[in-house]
């Protein structure tokens, strides 16, 4: 694992250590800190505040300092970060994973947020760790999944981790961010979707790890792009703005973006809602047949939002010939959307997945269909929980942006775009991300996720993540839990 520190001079952590003039320069703090918070370069100084685990430290410098020169304070900037879903703890722990490839050593809650519902009130129920003889060793635990489970002539596609990258278009994010995601997907043995904005030539070396998207605007969709890939995704709707179209502001339609999308520079682009050629499952089958005519072995994914009838939509997609039903819940999304839509339209993914899982089972087709969930998956624990609720795997989007040091300021669309160089096409801002840095940050984050998933699946006494699908007995919801005593966590 390669350590990839923040690209900024001052990484943000939860704590700050204050050093007074009384410091003797003895270097004891440097010697005892396991996280390298203090350094001695000539004189002793606190260089890496952000690594401090605070009260979780068993032998804290601020208590053992012989001169009493160190004191621990909470970093006020930390508390201005994030929100209830992506708490400051989740943001900083994601940055930590992207830097080190491991979950944080302490001091941070990296498993849940504070939204007080759904994932954040669900807990994994694990057998007692002291009598866990049935747990297989880590190297025998498989967290890979098959994406084509139909007995047909399309590609047999397996991914080594139960997640792949959701669609984020060229134009909404920079080419550097896009390439970082795709290269990381290739390194991890999984896929990344182009979103609806064309298929840049820079992605060609990674064709085997690219999913190309066909959405309502049909931007950049050509025969050649459909033939280049093994998975094609139809986007009917997206969780952040279900039932509404996409909208790329004119400022973001730079010459390169306009060329890719076959549009005019400086003019806003609307991806209308819905597909004007689809009003039924039969129409939908016609779409899939078109793709199969151009690329007969393509695996077809259908991305939909989560309305009340999402279960019927999923079954319809099966009969239309799709391999993957991708449910995008209402709380996720990366691009700009009306606040009223993000909050209200369609249901959270935690409700939609069990509904679809059950309905496909009752229809007798669950084993033939791959169910992918997205929209608010932030942590490896979210992945395990949604699989236990009935999904086969998940799509990620925001997590990768956070790995690239998104601070969730929610201003993706302001002025020249993202000030941190992630969701922008501004040439100067795009240069803020180095390709190797971005790639490795995402690899590190997902390696940490993979290790966590291996640990969880192993703890459950399972050898494959596929055994966890629909195992709601491995979950408890704190609001409905019968006994509240005698459990840890």
């Amino acid at each position: 694992m390669v350590t990839v520190p923040s690209r900024f001079r001052n990484p943000i952590g939860k704590y700050r250590l204050h050093r007074t003039d009384e410091c003797l320069g003895c270097g004891k703090c440097v010697a005892i800190c396991p996280h390298g918070v203090h350094v001695k370069i000539g004189h002793v100084m606190t260089k890496n505040h952000y690594r401090c685990v605070g009260p979780d430290c068993p032998n804290p410098c601020y208590k053992t300092c012989p001169a009493g020169a160190l004191s621990l304070k909470r970093n006020p900037t930390f508390d201005t970060l994030g929100d209830l879903r992506w708490t400051p703890d989740l943001l900083v722990s994601t940055w930590c994973m992207a830097e080190t490839g491991d979950v944080p050593p302490g001091g941070l809650e990296y498993r849940i947020g504070e939204s007080v519902g759904g994932f954040d009130r669900l807990r994994l129920v694990l057998p007692p760790s002291h009598r866990n003889e049935s747990a297989p060793p880590d190297e025998e635990v498989d967290v890979g999944i098959e994406l084509n489970r139909r007995d047909d002539t399309s590609h047999r596609v397996r991914i080594e981790v139960p997640f792949y990258g959701a669609g984020m278009s060229y134009g909404s994010i920079s080419i550097m961010a896009m390439l970082s995601r795709v290269r990381a997907a290739a390194a991890l043995g999984t896929f990344c979707c182009t979103g609806e904005g064309g298929y840049p030539d820079e992605l060609k070396p990674y064709d085997d790890h690219v999913i190309t998207q066909v959405a309502t605007g049909l931007f950049g969709v050509r025969e050649e792009t459909i033939q280049r890939v093994s998975i094609v995704e139809f986007k009917y709707a997206q969780g952040a703005k279900p039932g509404l179209g996409g909208h790329l502001l004119g400022d973001k339609v730079t010459p390169a973006v306009a060329h890719m999308r076959e549009a005019v520079v400086g003019y806003p682009l609307f991806s209308p809602f819905p597909f004007h050629s689809v009003y039924s499952v039969e129409d939908h089958k016609k779409h899939i047949d078109w793709i199969k005519a151009i690329n007969p072995t393509a695996v077809i994914s259908v991305k939909v939002s989560t309305p009340t009838d999402v279960d019927m939509v999923a079954v319809g997609s099966y009969y239309a010939g799709a391999h993957i039903i991708h449910l995008d819940g209402s709380y996720g999304g990366t691009g700009a959307a009306p606040d009223i839509a993000k909050k209200n339209i369609a249901m959270p993914i935690e409700y939609a997945v069990p509904m679809v899982h059950r309905f496909l089972q009752e229809e007798g087709v669950r084993e033939k269909m791959t169910v992918i969930a997205s929209g608010g998956i932030r942590t490896p624990h979210d992945v395990a929980k949604i699989i236990a609720l009935g999904a086969d795997g998940v799509c990620t989007g925001t997590a990768e942006l956070v790995a690239l040091e998104c601070v969730r300021c929610h201003n993706c669309e302001s002025g020249r775009g993202c000030a941190r160089g992630i969701a922008t096409t501004d040439p100067e801002l795009t240069r803020l991300i180095d390709l190797d840095w971005g790639t490795q940050r995402i690899i590190n984050l997902f390696s940490a996720w993979k290790k966590e998933l291996v640990r969880i699946v192993g703890r459950l006494g399972m050898k494959s993540v596929t055994e966890l699908v629909g195992r709601t007995d491995c979950l408890v919801h704190l609001d409905y839990m019968k006994s509240k005593r005698g459990h840890r966590g």
Binding site: R9, N10, I12, P76, T77, D79, T80, D83, R85, S115, D120, R121, R123, L124, V125, L126, P128, S129, Y236, A237, P242, G243, L244, G245, P274, Y279, S280, D283, S305, P307, S330, Y331, G332, G333, A336, A337, P338, D339, I340, A341, K342, N344, P348, E350, G376, T398, V407, C409, H410, E413, C418, L429, T472, V476, H477, D479, Y480, K482, G486, H487
Partner: protein
């Protein structure tokens, strides 16, 4: 096709600097004076246009900062930090949250829909309207050329009841008098809030907006004096329960509100006699057992019911009952009696966001009444100093009427567009068809227990993670 309803918004800048969620702390001591100072590199140019608002003692960098943290993370001496703004966190209360208040300011200032990137940042669900989601359709679109196209989505509603049937004489003549009704192009009525540092200009500004929008402003009858008389067609005089108004001075008024009370029948009778053409709306407080009260009204001349909760949208005598529940109960009771179309049901109290209007209608209201939202649109901080006789920190009483009018027009322009967004997603093109369509919504109380209720068992010794 009839002319499309458009709300023309125009920027109406804040008069006072709005408190923002977090502020910047930048120390000078120890500054190296770098040639390429991070402050010069600010993408938004915030430091370059820095000034101090002496009246409020607010540094402009706090209001203009977009929170990208690049200066915080780039300063070689770590001299720049951010911290939460206690003034922001202290805004409003648990219902009128700082987020809602600042969103209302933004909409009143710009007339635009609040849009942001990066997914939903709030709680999973919450009390009242926060415990429901609206539906969408994967394939149905309500109009052929988009929600803002030539073919339009109607947000108009009818005020006043319609009869369930027509009666004819043997000779085929219509026997009934056709009920008198009004229609408004927006399912939202304005109402003077119960507190606020108001002036004649404030009220006139609100009346101006009501007229321009084609809706109504409800206000105590004794406020209708002077210039306001000329706005009568857009005003709803609220009769006082204590001093029964004789009915004088109501000429040209199309709608009158009477409060529920001992003598409501008497007041209704008097108004009906003096102004037979005015519609009568009766205000019923949201309390336990209010459905019976409502049922006693519907056989009278009252054709509009206005169900009113507290400022936080709850029952007056029971904090656990929300206006949403009151609307559902009332709507269903009216449907069960087969008289739903004989009355118009309005709901108010705590309506704070555009989504509340859509959700109230889904629960069964015909339209909503907004009060504190039109005060907050004028930069009110909900500090309630005015209720203690203290001066208003944002001098609402000194605002000009044209500015007041623009702020309200902007707010409702933004709300109208948001209604179109949710209706478009649902595939519904007439707000009258949304009324009581609970199938177009998902309720926390139904979904959460059915999804997670069985996830309750933990074997002894097992660990939770």
């Amino acid at each position: 096709m009839p002319a499309k309803y458009m709300i023309h918004t125009r920027a109406a800048p804040n008069r006072f600097k709005a408190p923002t969620k977090s502020g910047i702390i930048a120390w000078w001591e120890g500054c190296l004076g770098c040639l390429h100072c991070v402050k010069k590199q600010c993408v938004y140019g915030v430091y370059g246009s820095r000034d101090l608002d002496v009246r409020q003692m607010i540094d402009s960098i706090d209001n203009q900062c977009m929170g990208c943290l690049r200066c915080v993370q780039g300063c070689p001496r770590e001299l720049i930090h951010k911290s939460m703004n206690p003034e922001y966190e202290a805004l409003g209360d648990s219902h009128w949250t700082p987020e809602i208040i600042s969103s209302l300011w933004y909409q009143a200032e710009t007339g635009k829909i609040p849009v942001s990137g990066g997914g939903y940042p709030g709680p999973f669900s919450g009390p009242g309207f926060d415990s429901m989601w609206t539906d969408m359709s994967e394939i149905v679109r309500p109009t052929r050329d988009g929600i803002h196209g030539r073919e339009y989505i109607s947000t108009g509603i009818d005020m006043g009841g319609t009869s369930g049937h027509l009666s004819f004489s043997n000779s085929g003549d219509l026997q009934d008098n056709l009920p008198f009704g009004l229609d408004i192009p927006l399912p939202i009525i304005l109402r003077v809030p119960s507190f606020g540092s108001l002036s004649g200009d404030t009220i006139k500004g609100w009346a101006l907006a009501a007229k321009e929008l084609g809706t109504f402003l409800a206000l105590p009858v004794d406020m209708i004096t002077g210039e306001l008389v000329s706005f009568r067609e857009s005003l709803i005089p609220i009769m006082s329960p204590i001093q029964p108004h004789s009915g004088d001075g109501l000429e040209g008024v199309r709608l009158v509100e009477v409060p529920w009370g001992e003598n409501w029948k008497e007041i209704v009778k008097r108004i009906k006699e003096s102004h037979p053409s005015a519609l009568i709306s009766c205000r019923v407080p949201l309390v336990r057992g209010m459905v019976e009260k409502i049922m006693s009204l519907v056989d009278s001349d009252v054709s509009i019911l206005y169900l009113e909760g507290t400022a936080s949208g709850r029952a007056i005598d029971d904090n656990s009952i929300f206006i949403k529940d009151g609307i559902r109960q009332t709507h269903l009771a009216l449907v069960e009696r087969g008289i739903r179309d004989e009355v118009t049901l309005l709901a108010g109290g705590g309506i704070a966001m555009a989504e509340h209007a859509a959700k109230a209608i889904i629960c069964g209201a015909d339209g909503v009444v907004i009060d504190f939202a039109i005060l907050i649109a004028l930069e009110c901080r909900m500090c309630r100093r005015c209720t203690k006789g203290l001066p208003c920190p944002v001098e609402i009483d000194r605002a000009e009427q044209s500015w007041v009018g623009s702020r309200i027009t902007n707010l409702l322009g933004a709300w109208h567009n948001q209604l179109l967004e949710v209706m478009g997603a649902m595939g519904i093109r007439d707000v009258r068809r949304l009324r009581g369509e609970t199938g177009r919504a998902m309720f926390f109380e139904d979904l959460d227990r059915s999804t997670f209720g069985s996830l309750s068992e933990v074997q002894k010794g097992y660990e939770l993670e």
